[in-house]
């Protein structure tokens, strides 16, 4: 497990990092937690010419709430998200299920988002809660809604010269709840199936906002918009969640593989959607 030869640039500022990336071009890769990139390099699946280490950049390691948003910097580790007291709903539910403790100590939430692995957890969670990805390039900063950021399996709409510097996640103002139910074969495994659920309730107890997204059952993390539409405006009920679960099962396009059959994975989507929405509703009602 010996990687190919590469150059290492240690950036001290975002500006330096972006500049180094522009100079390195397609062969350059940013290194934050390295929990996907380094194993890929050791297996010689990835062989960047230049690694641009952003770990020394000051100010990127903050997770904070401000103006109705949760801000997550590019160096916030999964473990920081687990330990943070200011997350909510599906985010708090998902954090302990990301990889294993060792990976969580090094890997970053932004790195996982930028990696766009369809088996990654965070992009489904953010599709359910809503989020903007904040990117910085030579021409300054821009925000991209998560749905527009994800382009395909392992591809995003991030420019070749841009660095993801943070995430901006709206914090629900009223009663809300969420859950991330993940079926994994063992700790540290990718999801065989996972479902992110997010519900907001109005004063009457009716659903005023809903988010539902699936992991590992489509070529990319998938938002189930028709199920969300069915939920909004309705009172939470087992029948309603069963209806949403059928739509989620239809939206899933799993494949037969070593983890299980497509028919079974669809059944898990159905089951976890029902259970996830019920847990989200219960949390919202208690909030």
């Amino acid at each position: 497990m010996f990687p190919s030869r590469f150059d290492l640039v240690v950036a001290q500022t975002v500006g330096e990092a972006v500049e180094a990336k522009a100079a390195a071009g397609e062969g350059g890769r940013f290194l934050a937690g390295g929990q996907s990139l380094i194993p890929m390099m050791k297996m010689r699946v990835a062989f960047p010419d230049t690694l641009i280490d952003i770990n020394r950049i000051a100010g990127l390691d903050a997770i904070e709430r401000d103006n109705g948003h949760l801000h997550v910097g590019a160096l916030v580790r999964h473990a920081d998200v687990v330990a943070s007291g200011i997350t909510f709903g599906a985010i708090a539910s998902a954090a302990p299920w990301v990889a294993d403790p060792l990976v969580r100590n090094r890997g970053t939430m932004c790195g996982s988002v930028a990696h766009c692995d369809p088996e990654g957890d965070w992009n489904s969670v953010l599709l359910a809660t809503g989020a903007d990805v904040v990117a910085q390039g030579p021409n300054g900063e821009r925000s991209v809604p998560i749905a527009d950021f994800i382009d395909g399996a392992f591809t995003s709409t991030l420019g070749e010269d841009e660095l993801v510097v943070g995430l901006r996640i709206p914090v629900p103002s009223g009663r809300s709840g969420g859950a991330y139910l993940k079926l994994e074969r063992k700790v540290g495994d990718y999801a065989t199936v996972a479902v992110a659920s997010h519900l907001e309730l109005d004063d009457s107890g009716a659903i005023s906002g809903a988010g539902l997204a699936l992991t590992s059952v489509n070529p990319i993390n998938t938002k189930v918009a028709d199920a969300e539409a069915v939920l909004v405006g309705q009172q939470p009920s087992a029948e309603l969640f069963a209806e949403a679960a059928e739509l989620a099962a239809v939206a899933a396009e799993p494949r037969d593989d070593v983890r299980g059959t497509a028919a079974w994975k669809r059944q898990v989507v159905r089951t976890y959607t029902k259970r996830g929405l019920a847990a989200a509703a219960q949390q919202a009602e208690g909030s």
Binding site: F2, R44, L183, R185, K186, G188, V258, W264
Partner: protein
Amino acid sequence: MAAPTTPAEIGGIGHSVQRKEDARLIEGQGNFLDDIELPNTLHMAILRSPLAHARINGIDFSAATDLDGVVAVVTGDLMDQHGLAWMPTLSGDTQAVLATDKVRYQGQEVAAVIATDPYIATDALELIEVDYEDLPPITTPQQSLEDGAALIRDEKEGQTDNLVYTWETGDKGATEEAFAQADRVVTLETHYPRSHPAPLETCGILADVNSVTGQATIYMTSQAPHAHRTLFAMVAGLPEQNIRIVSPDIGGGFGNKVPIYPGYVVATAASLLIGQPVKWVESRTENLISTGFARDYYMKGELAVTDEGRILGLRVNMLSDQGAFYSDAQPTQFRAGLFHVVTGSYDFPAAHIDCKGAFTNKAPGGVAYRCSFRITEASYLIERLVQNAAYEVGIDPAEMRLRNFIQPEQFPYETATGFVYDSGDYPTALRTALEEVGYEDLRREQAEARAEGRLIGIGIAHFTEAVGAGPSHTYDIAGLKMIDSAELRVHPTGKAILKLGVKTQGQGHETTFAQIVAEVLGIPANDIKVEHGDTDHTPYGLGTYASRSTPVGGAATAVVARKLADKAKKIAAHLLEAAEEDIELASGVLSVAGSPDRSVTIQDIALAAYTNLPEGMEYGLEDVTYYDPPNLTYPYGSYIVVVEVDPDTGVWQVQRMVALDDCGVRINPMIVEGQICGGLTEGFAMSAMQWITFDDDGNCIGANFMDYLVPTAWETPRFELLATEVPSPHHPIGAKGVGESATVGSPAAFVNAVIDAVAHLGVRNIDMPVLPDRVWAAIDEAS
């Protein structure tokens, strides 16, 4: 269990002495293969086939040779010039060292690069171009034996099909008679999937051949250094006195470090030709895709039973997937290891076992992964069958077992396939475990849960293992008898050194073998240094696998200690001016019978052995023993697992796991329990998640730890351990092997528990690993 006969400060048998080896291992002071650095060492990397079956039309390695830092590129042609392109396997087949004609599995060794550092060696692999011509891959043994299947071993003279071997045992006629008398026949067809020992430390070698003296010092991850030295001498034609194998600290073996792998041969040849040390350490992927796998048996078992639940006979047909080369590590005269122990813990007169093996385009192996040569497969089959028979007859699975057990008074008991079980009390073991788990209450809870739509299952396995190969009349590997040895020397100050033919890979030999000496001589276990693994400094032995260290090496240790005790008594008689037959030795004190004041200590004796001897006695307190065991030992156990199955997803969770083991006398109960917990975890892994499988093109799925799943503490159930202790009557200290019991016995308990949860729906089989989708599909189909 029997109380220890020695005080804690001596630490003889029965004391949970802290492991002597742990301090250095925990503090990072272990010395593993990759820790060993020699001056001028070169590093080797291996180019492996990406294809499962292809002809090699040519290899262009000129660009690799030209890379700065590359010293040599080795191909099959070069090896062939030295007569080393092929090597013999432990099962009498031959195996390609580096491919010359074809590649026969994905991951097969094609070429090797020797370079000044491992990065350059790996870079150079990318510069080698191999011209492959695709051949049809064969990925199942059923496909392999079809008419017209592509011939995998076309280089083998006289080989016209893909059949590896056929082997049968038992009495066919008597078995047919038993089946004719049966009220019903219970049939189970199941696959024990391919698994891999996956030791934490991968395999490796550092070969250092002195070009002037011809002395070959070979540091190697070896479970059997002495046997490996002899095999190296036979294969490479090196004079055996010039070969020294040093097996340093080993990070787990589990059978994976028994075979000789192509990388070892290439690295040794390269060191010989270049005149510098050559190191090769496998990557995780190399370990998983190319080194000895285990299991991969397709089994059909039929049990002839009466309506009263009596078993009359057993018939088994088995087809094994051997991969591209037949390299099972097993005793020579058995083609399917000790699979014929499949009659299990039950008393019935007739059995017939019919086995065959097939070549496929998969990695070779068939090692005894924490298993005494295919006993894992056998134990699994009979325990699954008996459970299913109980459902068909309509009696409780525990009662079914109790009605058919070999009874305590029947030992020694000869099975229908010729094993002579040494000792046991199976009914007591099962009843104790049933009581501990609260079996009757559980059955009530299960019925209540079913009424609420919840699925609870209770699975039992009562296994009997056959370990400690073995008696010279029956057992040899490559012609070498499976004896083992111990050499013991007590120094003048009363401290001792014990040298073993067996070799620890984590089992705790440095502690337990010292305890055996402490028990016999009364020298504190902490005063006894245990040395092993270096063939120049230890007596000959066949190594550590198949739970044979305690049954064979442990017996040798007890016998050599007793020889020294006899001499000590003679010296004591001389010192105490008493008759030798009046001297008693207990906890290190030698006294005159009836006059306990007249005594000397073993330490006094040690000094006298070098200073003050009776007339005519030879100086020193030292001896060596080679032990040829009269029989195998037969540990057993009763395991009970309780699971709950989620009917919506098929996900199952273990609620309870009660494991009663009887391995005879326990030398160090703490170490035994550690062994059992490890084995239960491996059994759980194979039942729940772990397998190596292949796609239709022969690509290995399970090539790293993301795909080959090793459970963590999070998934692993809590184990409740129990013990009974029926000594082995023929072992000098009554001990039986235990290292593998739990791996062998537990898979059937886990699988039976899941089946039991859905048996009322008519489900009788789910193949391992019992993945949730298989459970859900079984429920779906049944209902």
